[in-house]
């Protein structure tokens, strides 16, 4: 089955395009308003308004009631054909006896065979890692060399525990020291998948309890950046620490997920500009999971961590592709936001994901008024005629959005 999966991995992933209603792409809506008028658009001195203009807004509004882009990103992706996991079937109904029997068999295998095997490996991993790190701490001289080896070994064990089949593409572009690795975020397992192939420094909030213990253990073997809760709010402090880390060329590249939250792997949401302001080389990485073998998306509002891990270990497998993209640097005259968008577009293009302008923080917060203003600006420009069409692009929307987010919402490996 592994071999089969590896072969299938070679195919390109189809970009996710299905929704329940047919929608016009937003870029053509100005054209639509012109069409509504019927007449050719000539420059007028006075703004001209038509009663029919309201139709466009009506329709968009009702369309969004029926089905909107943002909520689609935060629920598991729908599959075209069922993969025998009830969790990925929305219209579960009895089709045939044979299918039900097959499903029953699948349940037996997944919960009776795969799950116990994996959880055994999982607990083995934690003990293993714990003891190894303790030993590393004692032998300081060989510290970095050994820690790298151990690091890789531990993550490989994790990967086996989850039966993750990962295909790495373009390994020549792997992130180097003194850079920042940037990837799209679907699940906490992303970390394991990337760390399986190289050593990174993690960034995140200091936790208490078991997570905190693990964090402290990790710091002993290699430099990671953990923030206190209060520090997270102070952007300058965050930027400074990141900057110091990348300036030191002996330190591993930093791993950052700029979306700030888990998205369901069909699209890429807005990247927070913080990590792009530091001014070092950015190594983009695109991660795409194959939805047929198991849904990797962590819907944090629906499941807790334990429930999620259980689901992960009882799916068929976790099959994914990792593409290392060529390093990017900020160009002359480009600000952090434009740079972030450029990187986002590259990642989306490579992974076959939809490139969205929406902020992942919308999962928890409301839309900002700046977006509404932007809509009004666009409409008024249509009325007044061609003036400065120029930068009427997504960049403006992202700029208005001031990332003074409420950091207390963020989970561990998410960073501004």
């Amino acid at each position: 089955m592994e071999m089969g999966a590896k072969e299938k991995n070679q195919q390109l992933y189809k970009p996710y395009s299905s929704g329940i209603i047919a929608k016009e792409p937003p870029s053509s809506w100005q054209q639509e308003i012109q069409d509504l008028r019927g007449s050719a658009s000539c420059l007028r001195s006075e703004p001209e308004f038509e009663m029919a203009d309201i139709f466009y807004f009506c329709r968009r509004g009702v369309e969004s009631i029926m089905d909107d882009e943002v909520t689609k990103c935060f629920s598991a992706q729908e599959l075209e054909s069922w993969n025998l996991l009830t969790r990925s079937n929305y219209n579960f109904r009895h089709i045939s006896l044979r299918l039900t029997v097959l499903w029953g068999l699948g349940v037996l295998i997944r919960y009776g065979v795969l799950l116990p095997l994996r959880s055994e490996q999982h607990t083995g991993r934690i003990c293993n890692r714990g003891s190894k790190i303790y030993h590393i701490w004692l032998t300081l001289k060989l510290k970095f060399f050994l820690s790298e080896k151990v690091h890789l070994m531990c993550y490989r064990i994790c990967v086996r525990a989850l039966t993750a089949i990962i295909t790495y593409h373009n390994r020549e572009n792997k992130p180097k020291n003194g850079g920042i690795c940037v990837a799209n975020h679907t699940t906490p397992i992303d970390v394991i998948i990337l760390a399986n192939d190289g050593c990174y420094s993690m960034v995140g909030q200091v936790h208490g309890g078991l997570m905190g213990m693990i964090q402290r253990a990790m710091v002993r073997s290699s430099p990671h950046i953990w923030f206190e809760r209060s520090e997270v709010k102070d952007r300058h402090l965050v930027a400074k620490r990141l900057g110091d880390h990348v300036a030191d060329k002996t330190k591993q590249p930093i791993l950052i997920f700029p979306e700030g939250t888990c998205i369901n792997n069909t699209s890429v949401m807005m990247f927070k500009k913080g990590s792009f302001e530091i001014g070092c080389t950015v190594y983009p990485v695109a991660i795409k999971y194959d939805p047929r073998f198991g849904d990797a998306f962590w819907n944090s509002s629906k499941f807790g961590m334990v429930n999620y891990l259980l689901r992960m270990m009882s799916s068929w497998a976790i099959v994914c592709s990792v593409w290392y993209l060529p390093p990017m640097n900020r160009e002359e005259g480009e600000d952090a936001v434009q740079f972030a968008n450029r990187v986002k577009a590259a990642i989306a293009a490579q992974g076959g994901l939809v490139d969205l302008i929406w902020d992942g923080g919308l999962k928890r917060a409301k839309v900002k008024d700046a977006f509404k203003e932007e809509q009004q600006k666009l409409y008024s420009k249509v009325l007044v005629g061609e003036q400065d069409q120029g930068d009427q692009s997504d960049n403006k929307l992202v700029e208005d959005e001031n990332p003074k987010e409420d950091k207390s919402h963020q989970d561990s490996t998410e960073v501004q």
Partner: protein, 202 residues
Amino acid sequence: MGSSNSSVNNIPNAQELMQETGFSAAHILRLHERFEFLDKHKCGQLRLVDRPTNQPQDFGAVQELALNPIGDSIISAFFSPGQETVDFASFVRILAHFRPTDRNQSRDGAQQEPANSSIRKLKFAFQMYDQDRDGKISRAELLQVLRAMLGIQVTEEQLQSIAERAIQEADLDRDDAISFDEFRKSLEKVDIDHKMSIRFLR
């Protein structure tokens, strides 16, 4: 949600709704899922406002609607005057207005006007302007809608002149307000069926 056995039979009055609105069973199911998603409190009804804060309640969950200039008008279109809740049947009935018109539909005089006819679509659009539902779009109402659509991008004078011209063009009986018939006449040339229809993909 994924593993629950959902069928049209679980939805009350599904068959009647299908007949009345013309939606297929699959569409009704989809809309029901959507309704349940919006109904965060699981009480079978969508609510207009959250009393303490006066913010849009259940429809507020739709992010894209929040930035639609006439978002609030669209939300109130779902609620009958004086009502603060809407159940699934009414939800579907309003959405039925946006079903594409059936070209080959022939009906006898006894049948009721189908939900997705051009007249119904026009009525919906008219309601966006005519907030107090008195059957006429007054100058004040027009100004309000224009202000919502344009925000701070145009000045008060520009706004007044836009409203003035719109009323002059459409108001045929010179009563300084636009009635539904005048509204309809001014939009004779517009392909309403196409502009106000939403197609289901599956």
